[in-house]
Subunit: 311 residues, 2 copies
């Protein structure tokens, strides 16, 4: 693959930025990669592991002469970063981001984007429960979707360049408007995360079933929730504050359905439960057929994996 952008700047050097750096190197699509993070520790780590070609000590220094700038900070920090770098952006550059919410990021960033820069928001649907500059790896985006949210005045050739970049990183791209993105993600990501956090919080709270029992017997289902509920608290706080309406709407639907199932349990209505539990199987099949998850039992986690991690 040939170089698509002579200079790429990454702001916020966590899981996503470090994965972009590794994947861009693997693909050879970035001439030079420059990075900045607000945390001195993170910058030190990034230098130590040679994550980028160069790490700067200020955000505006990182974006000078960059052809593509990607904001990889938590959603709530996007606006202040945009304010810091806006004036230093190169005319003709593409500014993008990877935030998990889109409407609020656009509202926060747009005021600081100079007229000669194209702001094209994006969101790669790929992640793990780990964070920080050491968490990234080159294959994170392989076969995953990256949703791109062009603005009304985004030039077609700029949009194409950003799509080419994400495809070179291994992703499939899809174009969507911001509000639709936020609704889709409320269902497929934000509400599931909130529910997982809640379930784990409940288990943590119970006095009668002691912590150690919750942990010991977690393989019966609970452990699947704990992975999601171990995700970064700052990012997820920002997600919920920034996708409030869509998340609350889906949560409302969730609560309704949960009450109906609760009533069926209380009344001993086995037919209702059986019908409900049958319907949900089809979705799993669809996900496996679409190549979005493994068909192996228990996600393929073998006993070797578990023993391996045993301290």
């Amino acid at each position: 693959m040939s170089v698509l952008f002579p200079r790429v700047a990454l702001i916020g050097l966590g899981l996503i930025a470090s994965s972009i750096a590794h994947a861009a190197r693997r693909a050879g699509v970035a001439g030079e990669i420059v990075g900045y993070d607000v945390s001195g520790d993170v910058r030190d780590t990034a230098r130590e592991i040679a994550l980028c070609d160069r790490i700067t000590d200020t955000p505006d220094a990182a974006v000078v002469d960059a052809d593509l700038v990607i904001l990889c900070v938590p959603p709530g920090a996007m606006g202040s970063v945009a304010r810091q770098i806006g004036a230093a952006l190169k005319p003709g550059a593409i500014l993008s981001d990877v935030g998990s919410t889109k409407r609020s990021v656009i509202d926060a960033v747009m005021p600081y984007v100079p007229g000669n820069v194209s702001f094209i928001p994006a969101h790669p649907l790929a992640g793990t429960e780990h964070s920080g500059p050491r968490a990234g790896f080159a294959s994170l985006f392989d076969n995953r979707w990256c949703i791109i949210v062009p603005q009304e005045d985004t030039p077609a050739d700029r949009l194409q360049m950003l799509q080419d970049f994400w495809q070179a990183l291994g992703a499939n791209t899809e174009v969507m408007d911001a509000d639709h993105h936020d609704r889709v993600l409320a269902v497929t990501s934000h509400t599931p995360h909130l529910i997982a956090y809640t379930m784990v919080g409940v288990a943590d709270d119970l006095g009668r079933v002691t912590d150690s029992e919750v942990i010991k017997y977690s393989a019966a289902g609970f452990r699947d929730f704990t992975r999601i509920a171990a995700s970064d608290p700052t990012m997820w706080r920002d997600v919920f504050l920034n996708n409030k309406d869509a998340t609350l709407e889906i949560l409302g639907r969730f609560t309704e359905e949960l009450f109906a199932l609760q009533r069926a349990i209380r009344q001993g209505d086995g037919d209702h439960l059986h019908a409900y539990f049958t319907r949900t199987r089809a979705i799993r099949r669809g996900i496996i057929e679409a190549g979005q998850d493994t068909a192996k039992p228990n996600f393929g986690r073998g006993i070797e994996d578990v023993s391996e991690s045993k301290g």
Copy 2:
């Protein structure tokens, strides 16, 4: 390992029974394994794959002269199977089960247990989202817990024999009373399953976010729920009908917490959200340190796994 039981009978030849058969063979602890299932198709499959040494066409024929009989049918069928086999049980035999609820199974089975037979309920905390006689594998119970629920009059030597059996199958055993078991499982298994079913049901229901989008973008979190929500509907209907009180109690706590988080989102209370999301990380660490899950990102499912399953 030497033979612990000259003849073992398995009733209900699904995931759990077939895994017991494979694991018992691997360990060499059963002289002969006899099986029965209510479904002719399942019996045919079991014969075809030589799951047991012998498959009988009636339940009572299977248990004749068996030293250990394990009921592996859904919780709601335990009572009727006990009624069918009670009179045919060998004096001195151990009768056990693997049901996911314990109080209700004891109430249903106990009336049919002859005085000269020891009924010792058990529950291996191991499973996958698959079912049927082909779903089993020998390592399912390795390093997993099997909870054993002796009755007041269970002789110590019988209890020991059943513990030895499950340990030979790879499990760690723990003794608990039925009510405590049902409460622990309501937290670690039953409520998480109900919540996963609900979330998947909500996604399935939404008209605006089309099914295909839910599937396409599921890797952002939702797919983790679909695995659990693909579990056997009959078994799970029975679980909720048979562990009603404990499940409803935990669901009540869950709803309270969810409402508090919902309020925090509505009011923009980022501190509450951040504090909650921080607390839940510790549980995940505990589970990994206890060897009950893999530390690998995304449960270690690699892109290879996913592509492999791509049809």
